[in-house]
Amino acid sequence: MDVRSALVITILSILGAHALAYLLVGVLPDAAVISLGLESARSEVVAAFHADHGIRPYSQVIADAAHLDLGTTLDGIPVSKELGHALASSFPRLVIAGLAIVLASVVTAILAPARSGALDRAASFLAFLPPYVMPFLGVLVVLSVQAAFGVVITDGLSLLITVTAIAIVPGALIVAQTASITRRNLESDFARTLIAVGAPALYQRVRLLHNVAAEITPSLEKMFTGMMAALLFAEPILGLSGFGTAAVRAVRRSDPDLLLGVTLVLAGSVAVFRLFALVVRRHYGLRL
């Protein structure tokens, strides 16, 4: 795939995801029925709802989005402001989680055993779990400790639990793949060439980090999507404000503009990761 094709697909993905969400949220149901429930039997209430929250035509949605106007929530708050606050809360958690995953990957590449074993099985198991299992395990631990010892959960501990809940499933995927890639590369002919010119074992592993970086890039997108999926559950389950909580609120309340905004932010950030992967693979001369 060439760069132009990759860029076209990326742009189509963002627009396509947004348009699909609009189709589902704005076109198929009557939002009034969903939002108002029993009150939707009263025509004047429905009329007032449509006046306040009527879905805009898609062309206007796009035009407004170009000016960073993503509409308003059912509470009348601009979606861009709502999501801005939410992202500001979630961003540090995502960054720490991302850095932890990168560090775990590097350590795995340096130290992974030559044969698959317990590390791989554990990582594969964790990577396979639903993203809400770890937050609930975190809740179990926290509540058990509180019940047993009456310990107060500090901000630091809360951050640690949240970051772990976000990072562990996608991190386990990256660690499992890093171990697999490293192992495969250690058996390769080019690794043998490196040994043949006198490279010690640690030097070999460090040089092969380039190969890990190149080969793991297709998984970066999955890693990020996994982190966002974990965020969707971790924040509401752990009672924290943030992007995940905002997204779940949008779903529970059937808030169309907020849902569209959430979709746009998710699709856009996944696109950024895709482009980053593209740049890394081009740098290493690999096919896209």
Partner: protein, 273 residues
């Protein structure tokens, strides 16, 4: 032949056994409802829930139902995906392949679970049907794209070319040359889709979109969290069931991997939510 070897030879039978066990236990224990939140007893080893149902039996039944629903949705999804993948890899369908690729990119831009949530609130209908259809529609382009990649690779195999030269038709090539050799990718991928299906089913309960009385593992997690200090066994057992189910699916994956070695082609994957 040992029991493990028998299981290993019959992966699908192995998959159906737990759900049969779960349903059976439910039938055995469901009987008449007991007192709400009854404490541990011989009849109810882990007590009863707020509806007077045996906690152990209902969570086990919920697990079995999750597996059943997951297998059903996965089978239908993969059947359609195989058809689409086969069409996409035929000659003169290159543009259709591009459509599938773009479609996969679109649905992968957002976590699958969010698509299912949006479909659930947008489309009226029975939850099982809506969720199943939504899951299938969302996963189909992704699955078709993955399978099309493998089918394309196999189509370039020399033995497939030789089959065409010998006069074999498309159906014969698909049935005897491509699908049997795609098992190394198809089986682990099927288990990943199954894991995703079970996870999506539970996710709906976790965020509170289902009914509290539903036999749903996600609902049990949510209720378990709410009642933890009084009745910790609900959350603990529900979490344990998730760990057991996914450990079991992973074991099935390793069995499939030994039975149909991929030679390193298949890397570990997430549930893809």
């Amino acid at each position: 032949m040992s029991k493990v070897e028998i299981l290993e030879r019959n992966v699908w039978v192995a998959l159906l056994l737990p759900l049969l066990a779960g349903l059976g236990l439910y039938l055995a224990f469901s009987g008449e409802a007991g007192m709400p939140w009854a404490s541990f007893s011989l009849r109810h080893p882990l007590g009863t829930d707020e509806f007077g149902r045996d906690v152990f039996a209902t969570i086990l039944a919920a697990t079995g139902l999750s597996l059943f629903k997951g297998v059903l949705v996965t089978s239908v999804t993969l059947a359609f995906s195989v058809i689409v993948a086969e069409v996409v890899t035929l000659p003169r369908t290159a543009s259709f392949a591009t459509v599938i690729r773009v479609g996969a990119s679109i649905v992968e831009s957002v976590p699958v679970v969010l698509w299912v949530f949006i479909a659930l609130i947008a489309v009226p209908g029975p939850r099982l049907v809506v969720v199943g259809l939504a899951f299938m529609v969302v996963v189909l382009p992704i699955a078709a794209h993955v399978l099309a990649g493998e089918f394309s690779r196999l189509r370039q195999a020399l033995y497939v070319e030789a089959a065409y030269l010998a006069g074999a038709g498309e159906l014969r090539v698909l049935a005897r040359y491509i699908l049997p050799n795609a098992k190394a990718v198809l089986m682990p991928f099927a288990l990943q889709v199954l894991g995703a299906a079970i996870a999506v089913d539970g996710a709906i309960g976790v965020i509170g979109l289902g009914n509290r009385s539903d036999l749903d593992l996600g609902i049990f997690l949510l209720r378990g969290k709410e009642s933890f200090f009084q009745h910790p066994q609900v959350l603990v057992l529900a979490l344990l069931m998730y760990l057991v189910v996914y450990g079991y699916l992973l074991w099935l994956g390793s069995v499939a991997g030994r039975r149909w070695p991929s030679g390193g082609k298949v890397e570990p994957e997430m549930t893809g939510l």
